[in-house]
């Protein structure tokens, strides 16, 4: 009913019926006078708690915490992180020992799991939850509430239009309002009719719904990562062509399990690397020798199913059991055979060498604790295409096997394998070893091409470089959070779009009786950003005037 209030007070009344935003939201009426309770020193525990809660869930705090998160994320991008770049951390610490102590103390090498970073984002999310809950409740109420009263004066509102006055006897106000109701309903408005006076309509509740879904889904992502993270495991395995991998704990080279990892949850499967194919650019001189494709061909067996031939490529992992298998690296494994002086084989297998550069200069170690008169280690380099014009220093000039050569140095002594501590298969601890040949000794190192055999120094036996095969290094992940995070991310995205772009607006159509007759007035009110409000009201006025037969004033 048309009340005698000014449009100002009706505007504030409208906000009061709106879903509650934090008290410092720009749309919320400014508090008149500070509540006496707040400035009094004796707040009491409950008062204090409520005060802090209100502070924490205010827009300003949310904003400051957001900016703080952005700021706090910076150091972790300047300093290598243990999780993403462990070698970088070691190098950084060696280069800046003193400064690193400070950074270590502050947890900067683990920025994103550090106490201070976690504290900031947890506070932000607590603030967020504190924001969402009351807003959701108010939104539910708003969804069931009727549109607000029609303001007394429409001419100060957005998109105001008016029709020409007509003889009161010629205008059926009720029919006009009925038409307005019908028209607005069809246009997706929720409509409330004040008989004989006006129609009040509102649309775009989806805007707030979208906004709430957006914020809730953010909480969802955090929860999925936080809880699901404990079930994740990530393992690595180097598989040489011709060899197999079985998905059991003991067959992994390394595995980093989440907190709630259960070894029984490993799905039983195995795969055999049947072939590995690398393609290098051979035409474009600007990119000669650059890798353009890697394909690992595997034969997989899952209990109860027929073995299958499948492939793993860099951008297309293989899903097997409850894991995903990624091709993250590859290299060469020279097949090396060592015999004792009597010719008995004491070692014969492909030994994966680690690539050092883009042309796959690789280094590796063969450890032979038993079978020879002493414990023996061979350490050396493999060059898939040796450089013929580079002088005495060997290097590789192409990653493909065009002119392969293997160099080896021989060590004897204690390999440190028997005292039970874990050792790195790719590295050699030289503390208790004596070097027998190669750089720094009188004897030259061993240089072999495929098919060659030569004597080991000191009559230890012989070593053969039989051939070279490829290996693939696979990452095997089980990540139950993935689907949840994806689902919440999609909700975030959909919520964002609806929350930003669905216009929330109120529209009023009002019959006004003056001394000159009767006319209809039209106006709107934006609730949030609404660039098209003006056009929308004009459109409504035009359509309505066609129904009533009245003309809209220009």
């Amino acid at each position: 009913m048309a009340s005698s209030r000014s449009s100002d007070s009706s505007a504030s009344e409208q906000s009061a019926t709106d879903p509650r935003r934090p008290s410092d939201h720009f749309d919320t009426p400014a508090p008149q006078a500070p509540e006496p309770g707040i400035v009094q020193p004796k707040l009491g525990f409950v008062g204090m708690a409520r005060f802090f809660w209100r502070q924490l869930t205010s827009m300003r705090t949310a904003l400051l915490l957001l900016l703080l998160v952005a700021f706090a994320a910076v150091p972790g991008s300047l300093v290598p992180q243990v999780t993403s770049d462990p070698n970088g951390v070691i190098q950084y610490k060696a280069a800046n020992p003193e400064w690193s102590k400070v950074l270590d103390f502050l947890g900067v090498f683990n920025t994103y799991t550090s106490v201070w970073f976690s504290a900031i984002y947890l506070l932000l999310f607590i603030s967020l939850v504190g924001c969402i809950i009351p807003r959701t409740k108010h939104h539910f109420d708003a969804l069931r509430a009727a549109p607000p009263k029609t303001p007394v004066r429409l001419d100060r509102l957005a998109g105001f239009r008016s029709s020409e006055d007509a003889e009161a006897s010629n205008v059926d106000v009720e029919a006009g309002l009925g038409a307005a109701r019908e028209q607005l309903r069809k246009a997706g408005y929720r409509v409330r009719v004040f008989p004989g006076e006006s129609v009040s309509a509102e649309r775009g509740y989806l805007r707030e719904t979208g906004n709430l879904i957006f914020h809730m889904a953010l909480v969802g992502i955090l929860a999925a990562v936080g809880f699901g993270g404990g079930f994740i495991y990530t393992g690595q395995k180097v598989v040489v062509v011709g060899q197999s991998f079985a998905n059991t704990l003991s067959d992994y080279d390394s595995i980093s399990p989440g907190r709630w990892f259960d070894p029984d949850s490993l799905s039983p499967y195995s795969l055999k690397l049947t072939k590995f194919n690398a393609v290098y650019e051979s035409k474009n001189v600007n990119a000669y020798g650059e890798a353009i494709d890697y394909t690992a061909y595997v034969r997989t067996s899952v209990p109860g199913q027929k073995p299958q031939n499948q492939t793993i490529k860099v951008n297309s992992p293989l899903t097997l059991g409850n894991t995903d298998i990624y091709l993250l690296g590859n290299g060469y494994a020279p097949v090396i055979t060592v015999r004792d002086p009597a010719g008995k084989i004491v070692f014969s297998q492909p030994e994966p060498f680690l690539a050092q550069d883009a042309n796959l200069t690789s280094d590796g170690v063969v450890k032979i604790p038993f079978g020879l008169s002493k414990q023996v280690a061979l350490s050396g380099f493999f060059y898939p295409t040796k450089c013929t014009i580079c002088g005495s220093n060997l290097s590789s000039v192409h990653p493909d096997l065009l002119d392969p050569v293997l160099t080896l140095q021989v060590f004897t002594g204690n390999l440190g394998l028997d005292n039970g501590t874990a050792v790195n298969a790719f590295a050699l601890n030289r503390d208790n070893l004596t070097q027998l040949n190669g750089f720094g000794t009188k004897k030259p190192g061993i240089t072999l091409t495929p098919g060659q055999t030569t004597k080991l120094p000191n009559g230890l036996g012989t070593v053969s470089f039989d051939k070279v095969v490829r290996y693939a290094s696979l990452d095997i992940h089980h990540d139950p959070t993935q689907l949840w995070v994806l689902a919440f991310a999609i909700l975030v995205f959909l919520g964002l779009i609806t929350g930003l772009f669905v216009p929330r607006r109120r529209v009023w159509i009002k019959a006004v009786r003056t001394t000159r007759g009767v006319h209809f007035e039209y106006a709107g009110l934006a609730r949030g950003e609404d660039p098209r409000l003006d056009d929308a009201v004009t459109e409504i006025a035009k359509k309505h005037s066609q129904r009533t037969g009245l003309t809209i004033k220009p």
């Binding site: 900016l67 998160v69 952005a70 300047l78 994103y112 009110l525």
Partner: protein, 317 residues
């Protein structure tokens, strides 16, 4: 035509575009100078009408500039727009040729990404004119593009080479293209915010705002509309990047430097949106956030790409 020929044509088109952008920049700068002097001339004239905000709604109406100002700005600004259109056609042509030469999308390394992203910024600038007169940003847009193309051709240039396996994915097409779209919208939004701050400064000093350029409030609204679109694109970029990272590196999020910066930018603009909704933060403060956000975008593209170590080492340099 051989691949080398196409690459040459592409570069010729880009260099020509740069030349014409320079002409456009000069025209737009002359236009700005005229606007500023016109502001002094009309300082004594009656105030330009701005519809007042009523009932908590921001009702902003187009400002009608006095006839004098309109006349002053006509020629150089129209010339600037024509030059911009010509330069843009050359620019897009050069970029497309580069893609044809490479046999793939032209945004796989920093050089190509620079071409594409600046073409998008100018494209958005031109398209937005249909809906809103933003020609006063012409000097900024053409100047920025000119500098960027200059840096790209001299410092980022790389020959056409095949994609390494990690980049062979349709996500390259989606993720990087949407990132450039986001960059384009953020860039224009930040430009409007800069102008907004300048106008607000003039107003605060008691000077008249330049009347042929919208009022600060209007600029703020325009900036906001562009930035929220940019924000949607950026959100998508972040998510698509995570999905791609999962395919290529086996995890969707690993706090790699580039991931961190994409996240930082996202959070800054989320902050901007909140600032616009927080009492006491509208106006100059939120404008500053928009500028900081775009500065972070540029930082992410230049400094992070070139000097920070990470998995995203695809600058091609």
């Amino acid at each position: 035509m051989t691949q080398a020929d196409i690459v040459t044509y592409s570069l010729v088109a880009i260099y020509s575009a740069m030349f014409v952008y320079a002409l456009a920049f000069i025209s737009f700068t002359l236009d700005l100078a005229r606007r500023a002097s016109a502001a002094r001339v009309v300082a004594a004239a009656p105030a330009v009408s701005i519809a007042a905000a009523s009932g908590g709604t921001a009702v902003l109406e187009k400002t009608e500039a006095p006839a004098e100002v309109t006349r002053h700005r006509s020629r150089s600004v129209r010339l600037g727009m024509s030059f911009t259109v010509i330069a843009w056609i050359l620019h897009v042509g050069g970029t497309v040729l580069r893609g044809i030469a490479a046999g793939r999308v032209p945004w796989a390394n920093m050089f190509e990404f620079s071409l594409t992203a600046t073409a998008i910024i100018v494209g958005v600038f031109l398209v937005v004119q249909v809906w809103q007169d933003l020609r006063f940003l012409g000097a900024y847009v053409t100047g920025f593009t000119l500098i960027f193309l200059g840096v790209a051709t001299t410092n980022f240039y790389v020959d056409v080479i095949p994609l390494p396996p990690a980049l062979q994915s349709y996500w390259l097409v989606i993720h990087v293209f949407v990132a450039s779209l986001g960059t384009g919208f953020f860039g224009l939004g930040a430009a409007l915010s800069v102008v907004q701050l300048l106008q607000a400064r003039r107003a605060a000093k008691g000077l008249r705002v330049i009347s042929s350029i919208p009022e600060p409030e209007r600029l703020e609204t325009l900036a906001y509309r562009l930035i929220v679109v940019g924000f949607v694109f950026w959100t998508f970029t972040l998510m698509a990047g995570a999905i791609w990272a999962e395919h290529a590196w086996g995890r969707y999020w690993g706090w790699d430097t580039k991931e961190v910066w994409t996240f930082i930018i996202w959070v800054i603009f989320a902050g901007y949106i909140h600032a616009r909704a927080t009492r006491g933060w509208r106006g100059s403060r939120s404008a500053t956030l928009a500028i900081v956000g775009f500065a972070a975008v540029l930082f992410n593209f230049t400094i992070v790409n070139l000097f920070f170590k990470g998995l995203h080492s695809y600058s091609g340099l």
